[in-house]
Symmetry: C2
DNA sequence: GAGGGTCACTGGACCGGTTCAGCCGAGGGG
DNA sequence: CCCCTCGGCTGAACCGGTCCAGTGACCCTC
């Protein structure tokens, strides 16, 4: 049982393929009566456009690509990507666009994937995430001429359209809040130092600490895993000038840090306040529940997808500054004992 | 600057399109010298096959579909899906297949997506996850004639090829281990009751408890969220016949359960032993670290992808019983006080 | 040296749509 | 009444590949 084609519809309706094409695409060139008849037949025999045939005429592929280049074992760790994907998805599926996903090992492989997808006409554009400082992918996709939206600060995005949130403001809000509580020794457990948003947060952290006249505000870099988060926390809490508050760059490290503190017989929040970047069920489930920086990650993804679809449609898309992360206070922060 | 086509190559090489096609596809019909010349030219001008044109000739779409039908907010919660996807991916990208992903709201929408993908020639097959009891999707995809591999027990997969793990054995191993430690009152905090693997685990749990002559072995069903896991735990621990061990159906509920126990001033593992289904950084990070049932989820996904590619190639694929989850003991299980 | 077979390659149909030039008939204006 | 316009439709080219039938050259064989 072959898939019905417009030729089948044309035969049944007694018109030409061309007329059917006009009718199905809502274009002028057929009378309303004929259009209705054709649509009815198409519907009845369950016709679906063959995207391959459409794509062949230089039309859109109706798909966008996303290549994730964190190692697989880190991907599962954070809910970030899954939430991002579901946000992207929501926007795409509303427009009947599909999402092509690939997990790659490094940036070189990632570019290979984009080149292939773009070269094969499989995608109409792509979303770039996890920008590095001086990211080599940016000039490469610029040269390819593929529509691309970058998730991250415009400073690293070259001429590409970016969707970003004001991490600076979030860092400032957090530190000011902790200082208002009475903290003077605040530390930061950061993610991968080569990521551009890590650099931005690091800088903002240093600036705010200086502005507020705080003493040494140590930053420890990690790879986002619980193990490294725990190790960093242990190191910070063993130092002579033990911080009274730590801001973690993700939820899993914050929880690991909480465990370390409790292991060391420190009370959270009396002896140590903890803030996590990005909320998750995990943060709400532990005792005490964690004060977090909340972002609407699906919205973030949806906005990026929106911008990308605009670009693909040839509409000039403006960079978008998304909502800054908001501080949601819970039981893990309090004035230092 | 148009993308190069085989016609361009043919012109440059002074041969016909047909010859170029044979050369590029490694088919007989051209001399080795000509083939080499054509490949060199193709390489030089950066030719890539246009999959649309290929697909039009009834060839493969070189993509497989995965529609996830859990609500977005649950997807981020568990690392399961991300790990599964990265496993599927690993297998697919080795064969240059792409993964089409869509997050849908319910089974009806999911079938709509599959119908569209299949109808439009976008995918060559799909992977079905989270089988329900009497899953309506099974007969529907059977009727569509689309190659499909099911992740789940064959009993729910109809005539479809399935990849599954022996959850029965895992449940048995876990309960026997707890009983060997001296536990007699064991409870299970299960996932969604309409999922077929929940039913299988439920049944196995009941059988093993009966076999070992245990008293009432309560099962509480949840939606996999931390909140419901906490509520279920609270209920179980407040009952007159308080269990001394609880087996949770995922990591997030187990951690929530741990928090509840600690809130109720119960010592884990002295007063309550905890086992979680599926390991995650989360389980290793909490205090005490959780005893878990470990599965190699990426392998699980890779095997499913492998089977699916075989099916697509027209090779008859056999169902595969994957490794059963293995018990990894950590600090959360001990003899009851 | 005629017949047969193989090899390397050509030309063109074909996949399922889109799109454009052109045709026909009806209606309107002069 | 004729000419022009325009709506509604047809026929065919086209997108970039695949693949099949056919062709000509060459070699082998009896």
């Amino acid at each position: 049982m072959r898939r019905p084609t417009i030729a089948d519809i044309a035969r049944q309706a007694g018109v030409s393929k061309g007329a059917v094409s006009y009718a199905l695409n809502g274009q002028p060139g057929v009378s309303e009566a004929t259009r209705a008849r054709i649509l009815a037949i198409a519907n009845e025999i369950g016709w679906r456009p063959n995207i391959a045939a459409r794509a062949l005429n230089g039309a859109r592929a109706h798909a966008v690509g996303l290549a994730l280049c964190r190692p697989a074992r880190f991907l599962g760790v954070e809910p970030f990507f899954m939430e991002l994907i579901s946000g992207i998805e929501a926007e795409l599926s509303a427009r009947s666009y599909a999402l092509l996903l690939q997990v790659v090992g490094d940036h070189e492989a990632e570019m290979g994937v984009y080149r292939r997808w773009w070269g094969e006409g499989r995608v109409d554009g792509a979303i770039l995430v996890d920008l590095h400082l001086d990211d080599s992918r940016v000039p490469q996709v610029e040269e390819m001429g593929m529509p691309v939206v970058v998730l991250g600060h415009p400073s690293a995005a070259g001429s590409l359209v970016s969707v970003w949130a004001d991490d600076r403001a979030a860092v400032r809000e957090t530190v000011e809040y902790l200082v208002a509580l009475g903290h003077r020794r605040i530390a930061r457990v950061a993610g991968l130092p080569r990521l551009s948003h890590t650099a931005i947060r690091d800088r903002a952290f240093g600036e705010v600490c200086a502005d507020l006249g705080l003493d040494a505000c140590p930053i420890v870099h990690t790879d986002y895993t619980g193990e490294e988060g725990a190790r960093a926390t242990r190191r910070l809490l063993s130092s002579p000038e033990r911080p009274t508050a730590i801001v973690f760059d993700n939820d899993i490290m914050a929880v690991a840090g909480l465990s370390v503190a409790q292991e060391m017989r420190l009370d959270v929040p009396a002896d140590l306040s903890i803030v996590a970047w990005d909320d998750s069920p995990l943060c709400q489930v532990v005792r005490p529940p964690l004060t977090v920086l909340t972002r609407d990650i699906p919205a973030y993804g949806a906005h990026a997808a929106q911008r990308l679809l605009a670009l693909i449609d040839g509409v000039e898309a403006k960079p978008l500054e998304d909502e800054a992360p908001r501080l949601t206070t819970r039981g893990s922060t309090a004035p230092p004992a």
